[in-house]
Subunit: 351 residues, 2 copies
Amino acid sequence: MSDRSDGFSCPVPLADRSTVLLGHGSGGKLSAELVRDVFLPAFRHPALAALNDQAIVRVNGSRVAFTTDSFVVKPLFFPGGDIGTLAVHGTINDLAMGGAQPLFLSVALIIEEGLPMDDLRRVVASLQQSAERAGVGIVTGDTKVVEKGSGDGLFITTSGIGLVPDGVDLSADRARPGDAVLLSGTLGDHGITILGQREGLRFDGAMASDSAALHTLVADLLAVGTGFRCFRDPTRGGLASTLNEIAAQSGVAIELDEAQLPIRDEVRGACELLGLDPLYVANEGKLVALVDPAMADRALETMRAHPLGRQAVRVGTVQATARGPIVTMRTPFGTTRIVDMLAGDQLPRIC
Amino acid sequence: MSDRSDGFSCPVPLADRSTVLLGHGSGGKLSAELVRDVFLPAFRHPALAALNDQAIVRVNGSRVAFTTDSFVVKPLFFPGGDIGTLAVHGTINDLAMGGAQPLFLSVALIIEEGLPMDDLRRVVASLQQSAERAGVGIVTGDTKVVEKGSGDGLFITTSGIGLVPDGVDLSADRARPGDAVLLSGTLGDHGITILGQREGLRFDGAMASDSAALHTLVADLLAVGTGFRCFRDPTRGGLASTLNEIAAQSGVAIELDEAQLPIRDEVRGACELLGLDPLYVANEGKLVALVDPAMADRALETMRAHPLGRQAVRVGTVQATARGPIVTMRTPFGTTRIVDMLAGDQLPRIC
């Protein structure tokens, strides 16, 4: 892992762009480059150009949120969930980040020949249970099987549709100077759990993925008032990449307060051991909310009253920028450092 | 290929059900078994249980069609299209088979590390061009990259949403004795083209995939009148598997007239050479319509007036059955044979 884990401090040479690299799936700089250079010039639809986690489209007068995600996590089963729970939660979260009430999911499986049938049954049960618990229906699906060696056990692509209530208007280009940046809980739990499984790490405490469906937390927040600019779940590329995306799309600076960042001791320890920065490690059940400063305290209280937001904190502030979009972090020593997007491929196959 | 190509006459031993086999992705008997034994008991939503190519769900009062399909075709590029055109057309067709007007698509890519960037650009251009031509928007997407050896170039999962007009009610359980079975054109073009590419076959004529978006053909038919029971596009598993599914869901018998089946000489020749039955070979731009006999002639005329239905024919009739659902075929010699579902895996990675 050492070559990959420090990828963010050692970017891929600019010249090598003739093939797709692992880093193109990192959620960081190379992913953004792929979107900018290959996808956006071809796919010119305005809903896609908005670069949110979901498209919001009109269907017969209703505002419908529509999203898709492929899941290639390795291993398939891990403490706190499996590829099935991850797929359902991830897709629900992408809908919820647009303020939508998640309604229906589709599930497409690409299975490598030879997958144990019991593994498939277990994942299918997880898919259904996590959908049921979240109150959404899995209504359509597809299965393909590829030859042994042409896949890797199981890949799942879930898509989802949801309904955006009237008056809700969330987008990564709506952040304004003064906005508070709220985070619903600890950073890096999912990424470090997966990495721990893969590398056979032993943790002192019990580490588990934070995989969870965030739509009820979002609904609670939206019920409180209108000052919300943007919700995001910081998955691939971590909090750093998510905030960089928001900063870029809104044309603002975001300053984080390092002392406020909630990070478990086990995650901090594993990150130190592996040379990782928890700001870049994936989360699968955390919400970042950018909110009008007048609403910040109430929003924080509302988060803390929800089971998935008990450790919510205000981690930063949006600022005006004269030098272009940027994310910085004030350290406990009083210095400030730049928090760039993830470069390279820190943790492949994390979701 | 010989072991696989005669799979349908040599079913997989019943005992071996502990792992997923290539045949589970065939669209035939093993696929149906997987759906019946693994998916349906877990995913209990009524929209899924209807076993159509799409779910029709209510969103804020509107009837919305929702569908998903993964594409793992090999090779990625072939005469008549590529994995991108196939994905767009396939998803549009799944919406259209429910009578829906296709509106929006999502595209999720699972890329194997090392895919030439030019191949990716070419597929992305195909995705966009075929969507544009069909008048649908690609509005959201996702990209994952897996390590070399953990995938096979590129897999694409497209999902789609569409709007079902009032009064349209198509479903595979609506076939009734007396209904006419109409087919919009020749059988097996897609499957034989892919197989030809893979096996390096040379054809006398120019063979190309029939990959096409069928939604305007469906719209023309629906504009003619209300006698339509069910539309299907006979992809994996071919016409035989599609008709067996309809027979099972409607509890009817279907009799085909072999003399009427439109099959290109090149396809017939390749099938003979390889021991394949064109009834089981995949199509990607053909429509099967089950229709009230009083409407059959008008429907056939309407098909023939559309560029994608010029060779449309009536290929069979729905009959009552006392012995349970069955598909049979009257041969030119006056005999009748049973046309079973595809068993095993005739042509893996065909779509």
